[in-house]
Symmetry: C2
Subunit: 117 residues, 2 copies
């Protein structure tokens, strides 16, 4: 029933950032690009090519769905996207994996534990 989440892991940087950008709220494409730039303090920028390539694949996989036009939306060009429940689980799984990676790396990069001064 549940698709195997592990088949999607590890997430490429592009997919990770797209899912993350959508995790807080629904966004349209342009806003996703801005959010990613914001989160990385401008160091990582997703071009439209990468964004729409990946967005299309995420739609196919059922990880993201497009929302119908918003009633009160002022700019009719915007197309909003939302994570599916599967994507939320996937993101949560990946975040945990990354966290354990971070902890493992910390242990190795800090090979000289100093005791309390």
């Amino acid at each position: 029933m549940e698709p195997d989440l592990n088949q999607y892991l590890p997430l490429s940087p592009a997919v990770l950032h797209i899912l993350l950008a959508l995790s807080g709220e629904d966004r349209h494409g342009y806003a996703i690009m801005q959010e990613i730039a914001r989160q990385s303090a401008g160091r990582y920028k997703l071009g439209p090519g990468t964004l729409y390539d990946n967005l299309e694949k995420l739609l196919e996989k059922g990880l993201v769905r497009e929302l119908p036009r918003r009633p009160g939306e002022e700019d009719p060009r915007r197309r909003y996207y939302r994570l599916t429940d599967t994507a939320k689980k996937l993101l949560a799984t990946e975040i945990e994996r990354l966290d354990s990676l971070v902890r493992e790396a910390r242990g190795r990069l800090r090979p000289h534990p100093r005791r309390a001064t």
Copy 2:
């Protein structure tokens, strides 16, 4: 003088895992593959194609260097690799970036803090 580390970020999953596998100790290619499989509990496996593609690029960039043959080494086929100081800094930078990503994601994925029951 210092090469701009940001130009290498974000690291692809393959590069991240290779650097991580080498962060604790020098390893030869086959051992890198095993270490990566071990760390992910067998869920993520790097094939030889991906490994050697990336290893070659890392050597070119001066992030990894090959060690001379070990005196006491039993298996003469093994070629050992070591991270350069630049790579250690790069890995540390990426780990911090991932950590802040993890923290941001946690805040978003846990938007309904339930009080103690």
